[in-house]
């Protein structure tokens, strides 16, 4: 069971201990994600440190709330933090399919996706774009974008057992 911080327990030593636990469990995964977006190890480490130091007790409680996926919550916060950086980098792939993905390399799941799926998945996952924004950008209905995103996840799910990660 995930430890919830009560208002009495929300002292800095307790927060530090909770953060240490989160960092040990998810620090590597978050750094991998941030590094994929930023492509610079030192800056990615800086963002990771900031992600943890900027966490407020209320956010921590949200992350640790029962029924919440801790990693997905932390990743959403990381995505928010990266928003400024994300807006300044290019898209994952050329919209017309003329060039291969620019920013995400070495991810076998993404390599398996079609060009459109790559655009949508990278746009959402790495560049924090909304479905509405992507629909407007790609001149397609929102339902089609959602469908492409779903297909991307189906590819990941169908191939996840080949990764050797358990």
């Amino acid at each position: 069971m995930k430890p919830q911080l009560t208002s009495a327990e929300a002292s800095l030593p307790a927060i530090k201990q909770t953060l240490r636990g989160l960092y040990n469990s998810y620090g590597g995964m978050l750094l991998g994600y941030i590094q994929e977006v930023i492509k610079d190890r030192a800056t990615a480490e800086q963002y990771l440190a900031e992600l943890f130091t900027d966490l407020r007790p209320a956010e921590l409680n949200e992350i640790l709330a029962p029924g919440t996926n801790v990693f997905c919550r932390l990743q959403l916060l990381a995505r928010k933090k990266l928003a400024a950086y994300i807006n300044s980098v290019g898209d994952c792939a050329d919209k017309h399919g003329a060039s291969p993905p620019k920013n995400i390399g070495g991810n076998k799941f993404i390599d398996m996706m079609s060009h459109e799926q790559q655009l949508v998945f990278c746009g959402v996952h790495y560049h924090g774009k909304s479905i509405t924004a992507l629909a407007a950008e790609l001149n397609q209905p929102e339902a089609a974008i959602r469908q492409l995103l779903k297909e991307s996840f189906t590819i990941i799910r169908n191939n996840r057992d080949d990764t050797g990660v358990h």
Binding site: M29, L31, S130, K150, I156
Partner: protein
């Protein structure tokens, strides 16, 4: 109908944070009503973790040290934060209090007996300590050597005097 909702891609949009506020509210409502939605969402969250585990990079030790130092600094600030000034009932300090101007504080110089130093100084202190022990051992060794040499010199002088006689 539920399967149609699950297959619409809205769940994927939700966990990637790309869904609109209206879609989020709708999904939370559906999640509370239909366990199938909750199950599908959990599966997706597992997928997200799988991708992340696949691309995970072990952070260097100093990254946690930075976070730890930051929290320690906050703790130090918290313990040495100034206490709010409360007006005394006898009104002896009436003139110092200005009503309706927000919280009043008395500025005092911190009288903490503790000094905060960077963690790297730990190694400097250890090195200084070890070096001082080495110097002390050397000093004792050379002192004893010197004393022994002096003793031998005196013995030789005595022998020389005796021979001269």
């Amino acid at each position: 109908m539920i399967q149609e909702y699950i297959n619409s891609g809205i769940l994927e949009a939700y966990i990637t944070g790309s869904a609109s506020e209206q879609e989020v509210q709708e999904l939370l409502r559906m999640k509370a009503i239909y366990p199938e939605v909750n199950t599908a969402l959990q599966e997706l969250e597992t997928d997200m973790e799988r991708i992340a585990q696949y691309m995970a990079v072990t952070p260097p030790i100093h990254t946690w040290d930075k976070i730890s130092d930051h929290i320690d600094e906050l703790m130090l600030r918290q313990t040495s934060a100034p206490t709010q000034f409360i007006e005394r009932e006898d009104n002896n300090y009436k003139n110092f209090s200005k009503p309706d101007t927000g919280p009043q504080y008395i500025e005092l110089e911190a009288e903490s007996n503790h000094m905060k130093v960077h963690k790297t100084w730990k190694w400097v202190f250890i090195a200084v300590f070890v070096l001082s022990k080495i110097f002390l051992a050397c000093a004792i060794y050379f002192y004893l050597e010197n004393r022994q040499a002096q003793q031998q010199l005196n013995d030789l002088k005595t022998e020389l005097h005796q021979l001269k006689k």
